[in-house]
Assembly symmetry: C2
Homo-oligomer: 422 residues x 2
Amino acid sequence: MLGARTGSEVRLGQDGSRRQTAGTLLRHVHLGGVLTRAELAAKMGLNRSTIMALTAELVAAGLVREEAPRETGRAGRPSLVVRPESQRWYVLGFDVAVDRLIAARVGLGGTILDRREAVRPRAGVDLERVVEVLGWFGRQLHRTAPPDATCVGVGASYCGMIQPGDGLVRYGPDLGWVDQAFGAELGRRLGLGLPVRVGNEAHLGALAELHRGAGIGLRNLIYLHGDVGVGGGIIVGGKLLDGDGGYGSEVGHMVVNPYDGRPCLCGSAGCLEAEVGERALLDAAGRPAELFGRDAVRAVVRDARRGDQQASEALERIGDWLGIGVANLINLFNPGVVLFGGMLRDLFPGTVTQVRARIARNVLPVARERVELRVAALGDDTTLTGAADLGFSGLLADPTNPLPALGRAAAPANPAPASAQR
Amino acid sequence: MLGARTGSEVRLGQDGSRRQTAGTLLRHVHLGGVLTRAELAAKMGLNRSTIMALTAELVAAGLVREEAPRETGRAGRPSLVVRPESQRWYVLGFDVAVDRLIAARVGLGGTILDRREAVRPRAGVDLERVVEVLGWFGRQLHRTAPPDATCVGVGASYCGMIQPGDGLVRYGPDLGWVDQAFGAELGRRLGLGLPVRVGNEAHLGALAELHRGAGIGLRNLIYLHGDVGVGGGIIVGGKLLDGDGGYGSEVGHMVVNPYDGRPCLCGSAGCLEAEVGERALLDAAGRPAELFGRDAVRAVVRDARRGDQQASEALERIGDWLGIGVANLINLFNPGVVLFGGMLRDLFPGTVTQVRARIARNVLPVARERVELRVAALGDDTTLTGAADLGFSGLLADPTNPLPALGRAAAPANPAPASAQR
């Protein structure tokens, strides 16, 4: 990458461990934002002269810049801060949720620079249509980027189980996908010559919250992501629980109601997501079957706040099932925090009483002593941010690794698909 | 330790990393039994001359010996094998299960050299009585050890939640213990001047199976331990899932039956252990309330095999609840293997059909593609072996660390308690 632009940018040494250390520093700046050299030295356990040398190389490569902090409040010459070159290096991040498609241009450091969003119709969303819309958004975002900005990766979040390595959607019950080559197809549509790294939405949401959100510094964290169903991303000892095949943390299909459980899209019944998902809430609140989506969910929350009895009872009912799931997870994981994201963030105020009651009743006392319940700090962009971070992973693993030359002239023509909505 | 015996035994260098490497080699021999130098070199990623030097130091310290293998089948001079000095170095291992108390002298390498066992009466077993019996057994085992054998540690397994570091039983619902200083009290009774390291029975069982049993080489493993209730030890990415406080892997109190669940000793109802534990099985099989313990459980299994309808249906019922729990765990952990130990090992043949049916029905297809169900390979000694390994952890962390001189004359007098049974 660095060599593709100007001669002065090729500086970082050939030595593997130095490349890795430079990548670690860049990762701290990417995740932590503006940091002083002293903060970097403390985080990395290195002395300040090493930090200074590494920073100088990253500055020469055009990846970060050093500058005076805005205000110091102290006398004397202020210590310089290191800041990512957010406008100059970006990724394309995509988020395939059950109810919407999002694409964004995200700068180094995690700033969302530009975005496109389409409400996804509930039925008939096959691979072809999803990559058509996302491909069009992506090419548009790429074309409208400033002339001195470079795309260094592509990351995507998907509401289903993803095969590690190739972005194959093994199983996405909410969209009805089985073994669909999503990553490869989206990469082909984008035509940027970059691989598309794909992850499960709740896994990526958990990592984003761990690195930049409400989970910073935690070792053990449960992230529950409400989409139309419920996904999970569980951090055990600082690492994502992905299991043997990459399909771990699947909380949504924990059976909580073995007797008269609601049918689930997975083919079973009584799964957590069948009992607390969007449809369960809307049905319990007496909403017509034609209504769906986040606005409909938020209307129930709003109505409950305004005193609508049926809406309040619906939230309580969902809260009790959710509480059983949360209690089971706390017994299993003894986490520091349980985080509620996506739609569950909206439901949090109306369900937290029931969740706490279930924790008090069903979690062994020693495991609930210190657990906290929180909402996701990154709001509606938790999964999109996780996808963008995944897109940056190649650059952060090795900031000296030459990328394919990404001549803007080489970007493919971009005919508007009939289906895309702004 | 080494200096306390003969001058020739003090050899291992002062250098921290070399001590650690020697400890790693000793750990391989302890867990793997008899190994050739070539096998050690491969396991440790070191060259054979380094292995030879480290082995020589451990031989000089009296911790291992090298010898010709029993049979080679090949011509030429056979490669020497390294074998732990099992008779010379031992730990005391204790196992406090709900239904019995066990003490054993376990040699380096994991061989059980001598043991004592007491059937535990169901009611009225307080800390005082447990440590009285175990202390008496332990002192007896220590006194009757060969004169050239040295006790290098004490480990104990307990059927409850243990505070890491000090062996405090935070919560043991089956024995009714809350915040009992088990480790400290047992150490005082033994009077050996050695700390007693205590772990949860299912945690220790999981580690024992991972290191020496049916879980060797696995990264993700679920160990379910049937005692009177059900405990869990879950291995995630090669490490025990213990959570923020050390209380993770608590599968027994996962709510599986939220409607008409059987009451649980934890105060809740419908917990996995309430639905599949000893009492649930005996009740379902129509056994009188006065019967309890492993023999009663095994009688149900035997009767079912002989065609007793009620016993068969009891196993099926327990198998279905167990299957819900197992399916939930597979969805969460995407493990390679689920292992059944303790009483669940006895129930395995009679419940596996129901467990498999639940897996087929409730686990998402991609997460069940490769999972295997197995029984614990260490039989009834899974938890005891784990306790002994915990006792060896100090020696294995640093084989050069001097231990307190354990003069056999200093062992306290050993009056027989009225309650101990052989």
